[in-house]
């Protein structure tokens, strides 16, 4: 008897929770704000679903209710992707070590 592919996805999911658990505990507390903004950005990989939805219409009807929701989701996720990664980058660029030549 074959195993339902759902079980495989569930395995990936459960193992990823554990990976997340250990990886996030190793994040230094001073970078918790960038952690939140970058998790924001990567969770917007949901754009993948939005693109599929947007392109689902046939050539004659690009816009139907379903694809319209897809297009809107693309914009929302894109705000997050660009905004999230860029603001993270901006924050991380500010974290500097003490300059040795100072004093």
């Amino acid at each position: 008897m074959e195993i339902d592919p759902f079980i495989f996805r569930l395995s990936i999911f459960i193992l990823s929770i554990f990976i997340g658990y250990y990886v996030v505990w190793s994040v230094t507390p001073s970078l918790h704000t960038p952690l939140m903004s970058v998790t924001n950005a990567i969770s917007s990989v949901i754009i993948v679903g939005a693109i599929i939805a947007g392109l689902a219409g046939d050539t004659n009807t690009v816009f139907n209710t379903s694809s319209l929701f897809g297009f809107l989701a693309i914009s929302l996720a894109a705000i997050n992707i660009f905004g999230g990664f860029l603001v993270t980058q901006r924050m991380l660029a500010m974290y500097k070590k003490k300059k040795k030549d100072k004093k």
Partner: protein, 465 residues
């Protein structure tokens, strides 16, 4: 057009890159590289999606238009946002992830063929369950984050909004969400789907309104976690590995952050979520509010004290963010350092309105991160320091948490500021902090209160040094 297997492998790669992105944050040196991995993972995921659909017809142009439209708004916000507004920004971004999840779920519900989920009115049972969970969690994330955003932005009052029967009502709604998902799966009526979404929006709203301003670090972390679970739910529907991995990562990340924040306040997660903190405690604190003498001083006194110190510890809090005093503070510290005074910063886990809020502000003001310490790292140093400079923090320095079992904040880890030889406390007035309790530190022999705006006071001290 590339095969389903190949694209699945690419999604796996982008999932791994996202793990590396979070791994990079274990130290500031590797963090920038980590962010790059994250961007790379996103580019791979998006490109593979285009390639696997292989439909470069007119719809493709619209995808690009909407993508660039959203992207330029995002980029604009990212460059313009002041660092003090980071909590609002993150709350706002959470709401977008939630809404995007809802939209994708709606889209999949209306046109299941496009996602290989069966046909309309006859969606595969497993997919329908995953989809409705993703949509419900997404909707809760959306409306909850909107409330958090409004509270942080100050458009909505930060004080908890409670009413009679709140908890039973919430419980009732949560139960009806489960019942609706069950009914939806058995009769597949689109009306039920819309009702499910509507009450999920409602419960998100109701869950966050009773939670007060200073509990926002927990709320933001919790919504971060929800946005992850919503993404994972949609990931199961779309059978997409990248989305499942990311959802799990973000979900556990947010959960860990909420746990750290709750521990920083010595409160259980449920205690925070049920809300109303502060509102109930005000009665008990007001009765003990007899007038006690405080010593107050001016910038001149403070400058004199610090000039004669050999080590100073700075304790920043939310008030520093409100007054935008981080740059003025760093200038003051520069002057102190020129006089060979050792300066370090002590950060309480729940200082500010989100995890790591103070660290970002100090980094913005060019404070080197190796001068900034966490509570456990620095707490023993207070006894050896000459001056503690408390700027915009309050409850996290209150010694009552260690001494008075009756106090609502009893047991909360606090910074041992009172052990310093002298304490300078910058505050606008004597009013109690968020928790509604008097801070014993104000009345200590060795405390000098500096009643002024944090930024102005720091600037004045610098002039007097």
């Amino acid at each position: 057009m590339i095969s389903a297997n190949l694209s699945a492998i690419f999604y796996l790669i982008s999932g791994v890159l996202f793990i590396l992105a979070l791994r990079g944050l274990s130290s500031p040196e590797t963090s920038r590289q980590g962010n790059f991995f994250g961007i790379l993972g996103m580019i791979i995921a998006i490109s593979v999606t285009f390639l696997s659909i292989g439909n470069f017809s007119s719809g493709f142009i619209y995808v690009l238009i909407f993508l660039l439209f959203g992207g330029s708004i995002g980029a604009f916000i990212a460059y313009r946002i002041p660092m003090t507004a980071m909590p609002e920004l993150v709350a706002g971004f959470h709401s977008l992830v939630g809404l995007a999840a809802v939209f994708v779920a709606i889209s999949a519900f209306l046109n299941p063929e496009a996602f290989n989920l069966g046909s309309k009115g006859n969606i595969k049972l497993g997919s329908l369950i995953e989809m409705s969970i993703g949509a419900a969690v997404g909707a809760i994330t959306f409306s909850g984050s909107i409330i958090a955003f409004l509270k942080l932005q100050g458009i909505m009052s930060g004080s908890p909004i409670t009413f009679k029967g709140q908890h039973p009502l919430n419980a009732l709604i949560l139960i009806s969400i489960i019942v609706l998902i069950y009914l939806l799966c058995s009769i597949q009526s689109s009306n039920l789907f819309w009702i499910l979404l509507a009450i999920s929006f409602l419960i998100g709203f109701l869950l966050i309104i009773p939670i007060g301003g200073a509990d926002m670090p927990v709320v933001i972390s919790m919504l971060n976690s929800y946005s992850g679970w919503a993404a994972a739910g949609i990931g199961f529907t779309l059978e997409n590995t990248a989305l499942i991995i990311t959802g799990a990562l973000v979900g556990s990340s947010g959960a860990i952050l909420s746990y750290i924040m709750c521990k920083g306040m010595n409160r259980s997660f449920f205690n925070v979520i049920l809300g109303g903190f502060g509102a109930t405690d005000q009665n008990s604190s007001s009765k003990s509010q007899e007038q006690r003498p405080v010593k107050s001083g001016n910038a001149d006194d403070a400058a004199f004290l610090m000039k004669n110190a050999s080590s100073v510890i700075i304790v920043p809090g939310y008030g520093m963010a409100v007054a935008q005093a981080q740059h003025a503070l760093r200038e003051m510290v520069d002057t102190l350092k020129k006089n060979d005074i050792k300066v370090s910063y002590a950060i309480h886990p729940v200082a500010g309105r989100m995890p790591g809020h103070m660290n970002v502000l100090l980094a913005e003001a060019n404070v080197p991160y190796d001068e900034v310490f966490e509570l456990e790292e620095i707490n023993n140093d207070f006894a050896n320091a000459d001056v503690a400079f408390v700027i915009g923090a309050n409850d996290v320095t209150n010694p009552v948490a260690k001494t008075d079992p009756q106090s609502p904040i009893y047991g909360m880890p606090v910074l041992d500021v009172e052990k310093c030889k002298s304490v300078l406390f910058v505050k606008r007035s004597l009013s109690p902090g968020y928790a509604g309790i008097d801070n014993d530190l104000f009345y200590k022999e060795n405390t000098l209160m500096l009643f002024a705006d944090a930024k102005k006071m720091t600037e004045d001290i610098t002039k007097n040094l």
